[in-house]
Symmetry: C2
Subunit: 329 residues, 2 copies
Amino acid sequence: MLHGPASQPHVDIAAPIARELSDVLDVFDRELQSDLPFVNRLTQQVRNYRGKLLRPKLLLLAGRAAGELSHDHVVLAAVVEMVHMATLVHDDVLDEADMRRRHATVNRLVGNEGAVMLGDFLISHAYHLCSSLASTFASRRIAAVTNTVCEGELLQIENRGNVLLSEETYFEIIRRKTAALTAVCCEMGARASGADDETIDALARYGNDLGIAFQIVDDLLDLTASEQETGKSVGRDAEMGKPTLPVIRFLAGASPTDRDAIITMLSSPTADTPVTLRTMLAGTDAVDQAFDTAASYVTSATAAIASLPDGDAKASLTAAAEFVLARRQ
Amino acid sequence: MLHGPASQPHVDIAAPIARELSDVLDVFDRELQSDLPFVNRLTQQVRNYRGKLLRPKLLLLAGRAAGELSHDHVVLAAVVEMVHMATLVHDDVLDEADMRRRHATVNRLVGNEGAVMLGDFLISHAYHLCSSLASTFASRRIAAVTNTVCEGELLQIENRGNVLLSEETYFEIIRRKTAALTAVCCEMGARASGADDETIDALARYGNDLGIAFQIVDDLLDLTASEQETGKSVGRDAEMGKPTLPVIRFLAGASPTDRDAIITMLSSPTADTPVTLRTMLAGTDAVDQAFDTAASYVTSATAAIASLPDGDAKASLTAAAEFVLARRQ
């Protein structure tokens, strides 16, 4: 679940889609069943990562906001969660992370080999499940978006250690690696409800802008939050020399001395880099500035769906966008 | 190309499908085009791995042996090659290999992160391309087989360091990780030609048995051949404590002393393990025995297609099966 601060009135964004969401988990589990006990133990570990189920929720809510939900929505929601899980498992290999949602990562348990293969297993099951639908359209669209996600990850790898990463490239990376998938969740949800092009387009824009905001906040929490707060390894971006929005903003306005210190530090990051960076940025408004940018994307996300008919699904989509900002404690 | 020894009469197994094979490469290259130069540089590196094109050839030859070739065959052949390339790229991460077809591996060039993501990029493009076909059938079938391939790899990972691996489990691993894909190549090729179930089944059995033979010989060459001969890193199986057929056969008939020596060595393998193992097995018939088993699978592969009408495609399929054995110099 996305948790807001205690002061915020609690909205259960999944309420309008509770039954379908439960079906999604059944379809997800059934699809991954193997005759090999070792494989089942590994997929069980992946199930422990289940957190927000943000992408299935977005797909189902978009479908509900645009019309009636069907079994196709349930299948598609399981597919996007499977694709997302695969990227988590492979991301953890890339990041050499030890913790994910308060559980040991697959790579820590069975090594990088097992983690790479388990990610592949999730991807291939996602397409297996997706091609159980009557038309190839969804497979084609979801494959296109995973191409984009991979390109975003590769662009990020290319720019690892590029301390002078431009804001433009940072946004290009997060648009591809995160927002493309949240956008397609909303698009596919609306499309499977038989929505018109205008509604599909509005929901896709909502998904894109929510994704951008989500990734900015995620990067920001990696810099400012603790492992307890996030439930996953933190400080990884700085440790891998990966500049994120607060750092880019800070560098833009920093004194030559601070600028040189950060460039030197991120070019050869050590285990101390995250703490040092956090301390340097604490006295500036770089983090607040990045947060404000995330907030502006949340505003444009909710604006994109303003013309949709009011209802519980639209209210949940609005609440989901606002909760992205509430992750910052 | 699969090269036979110089004494063997040269058969160009690709002759009956030369034009379509060239189309496959065009479709393959077009599909992977990206707007990101970094991504294009990486896919160019993958293109250097192109060796035998065994899987596209099998698909096209099976299609030709069963009827007429169409554009669907070309698309499917590019898809299976893309899936295979992805497994090569990810295998190299798993094996920490440095060389592949006389070129540096992707993981050596851009690190494991880049290699994992590039493999994912290839997989997602394979499904993108496959879902350009009119029906979801091929996507569903190819996804099912890649599920099996991943399970084979995971079963292998589970049994790494299991020196007492049974022959049964060894065959289960290679059936899933290698033979399942060569079988589906032949099956899909025949199916896209509108063949009857009997023909589809015969070609699938041919593909399965050829795949088993191929993997036995591949494992055998890893033990006995040099890097010059194979064009890729050798001795990796022994170095990773992965028992293959000759070792399993040797252990079955070894003296208690030899048996204990091999168990100790493979349980804690070092850089010297491949050479020591090769020397120990050289004085025995374990390698010949494994080769004979491969030969029996080649015999059953060719027997499976015996009832197909004679023609150049069937002759090429027979030659392809025999060439599997000719890889042993």
